[in-house]
């Protein structure tokens, strides 16, 4: 299971939208995965682990109903990834400022997506799961996976394009 820890973390992080909550979900998931590893007979351990992570995240959100609705401030988002936000040497200060602002904005947009769209997008774009695998992890028909993915991408692109048109 350890090779898939990084993937599990990414999903937990985007579902919970908070580093601490993601860690709890991840701890819980890994312990569950180990306990049931002996009974796992499938051929796709990554999908199986992601499914466990998703279940754990959803139970955690249910338990903490209300708490999950607190949006993550952009400061937290920016602060946790200082390296990613360092300006790269190729850009002049203005370009890198715009880039860094864009990045914050896109992260907030993603965090604000409804959870079913968000998880589908994360599983596709980042984990690069196939539609079939996403359908299995989220227990959703493939048609729904496709339309969720479409809606998630549309919301993102429209919001970014509107933002960029503002002076």
């Amino acid at each position: 299971m350890l090779p898939h820890l990084e993937a599990a973390h990414t999903l937990a992080r985007w579902l919970m939208r908070d580093s601490g909550a993601a860690e709890e979900v991840l701890q819980d998931s890994m312990v569950r995965a180990l306990t049931y590893f002996g009974s796992f007979k499938g051929i796709n351990p990554r999908g199986w682990l992601l499914q466990i992570v998703r279940n754990a995240a959803y139970s955690s959100m249910k338990l903490n109903r209300g708490i999950e609705l607190v949006p993550i401030g952009s400061n937290e988002e920016a602060g946790t990834d200082t390296i990613a936000d360092l300006p790269s040497g190729d850009d002049d200060p203005e370009t890198s400022l715009i880039k860094s602002r864009d990045r914050c904005y896109i992260r907030r947009l993603l965090a604000a997506l409804p959870v079913d769209l968000r998880e589908t997008l994360v599983l596709r774009e980042l984990e690069e799961l196939t539609y079939k695998e996403i359908a299995e992890v989220t227990r959703t028909p493939i048609g729904t996976v496709m339309s969720r993915l479409w809606r998630a991408r549309q919301m993102l692109v429209r919001a970014v394009n509107e933002q960029r048109q503002k002076p």
Binding site: M1, L2, P3, L5, E6, H9, T10, R13, W14, S19, E23, L26, Q27, M30, V31, L34, T35, Y36, F37, G38, S39, I43, N44, T80, D81, A84, R103, I106, R107, L110, L121, V122, R124, E125, L126, E128, T130, Y131, K132, P141, I142, G143, T144, M146, S147, L149, W150, R151, R153, Q154, L156, V157, V160
Partner: protein
């Protein structure tokens, strides 16, 4: 796949979800060809393609939350609970370290306290123990296990490409170093792809090469220890392992090809620009 279900997003050509499916590499050649014929005439679908490309470039780097090292350590530590053996350092890991009686008794008490006594559960615990206690496994065994695991159907490659310029960037943002990627096709060892693996307590890059019908896995990660300019080799369960390090990276090559051929591969790699 039922493509017709929940199609036709409001106000758009009903084919846009197929455009998306092609974008996500879900269509076979015939479906893609049909779509192509339609798309040359359909503005909606042309616009959809541009939006998909834009969405992809927007999220590609933004979605990635690298896992903090401290968090990884806490999680692995908790899973390893009561197993405070040192994380294997590659330099020491070369020789097999037998499990100490203390470790075994810790294992037994851990197993019994958590899972109970039934045979099935004990088997499960043993499997977990092997997966999760790399400190009890020598590095050679981990590498061979990684190689064997990769040979299971669907586990070999996360990115399948014979182009080093496709494989190398694939690792960007997935691990905290940039592994050197070379194609040794001219020397009879064509590159076929790469994937992430987990060795010696850390994520590592695995490059996959082919030699005749044999698969060669090359594990690469930064080295903390001394440089090993000459090749070292070992053999475990019929698999050959060859190791060296250069330019701050350590290389571990595992395959079932003969030792002499694996050494040739290593030398070709070192000589290749």
């Amino acid at each position: 796949m039922n493509m017709r279900e929940e199609m036709s997003p409001a106000g758009r050509c009903e084919m846009v979800l197929l455009v998306q499916a092609e974008f996500d590499r879900e269509l076979d050649a015939a479906q893609a060809a049909n779509l192509q014929a339609h798309r040359t005439l359909c503005r909606d679908c042309q616009a959809a393609e541009r939006e998909l490309t834009q969405a992809h470039s927007l999220v590609h780097e933004e979605l990635y939350h690298s896992m903090p090292d401290a968090m990884r350590q806490r999680i692995v530590a908790r899973l390893d609970a009561d197993q405070p053996g040192p994380v294997i350092r590659p330099a020491e890991g070369w020789t097999r370290r037998p499990a100490t009686p203390a470790a075994l008794s810790r294992f037994r008490s851990w197993r019994q306290s958590i899972i109970g006594f039934s045979l099935g559960a004990a088997c499960a615990a043993a499997a977990i123990f092997l997966v999760l206690n790399p400190a009890e496994q020598s590095l050679t065994e981990q590498l061979v296990a990684g190689h064997v695991r990769a040979l299971q159907p669907g586990h070999l490659e996360d990115v399948a490409s014979t182009d080093q310029h496709t494989v190398k960037p694939w690792f960007d943002g997935r691990i905290d170093f940039a592994p050197p990627v070379k194609d040794l096709g001219a020397a009879g060892f064509p590159l076929t792809g790469g994937r992430l693996d987990y060795i010696a307590g850390r994520p590592v890059a695995a490059l996959i090469y082919q030699h005749d019908k044999h698969i060669i896995n090359m594990f690469v990660w930064p080295t903390a220890g001394s440089v090993v300019p000459t090749l070292q080799s070992a053999e475990r369960n019929g698999y050959n392992v060859v190791h060296w390090s250069e330019s701050g990276m350590q290389f571990w090559v595992v395959s079932d090809v003969e030792h002499s051929q694996l050494s040739n591969f290593a030398q070709d790699w070192q000589r290749s620009p």
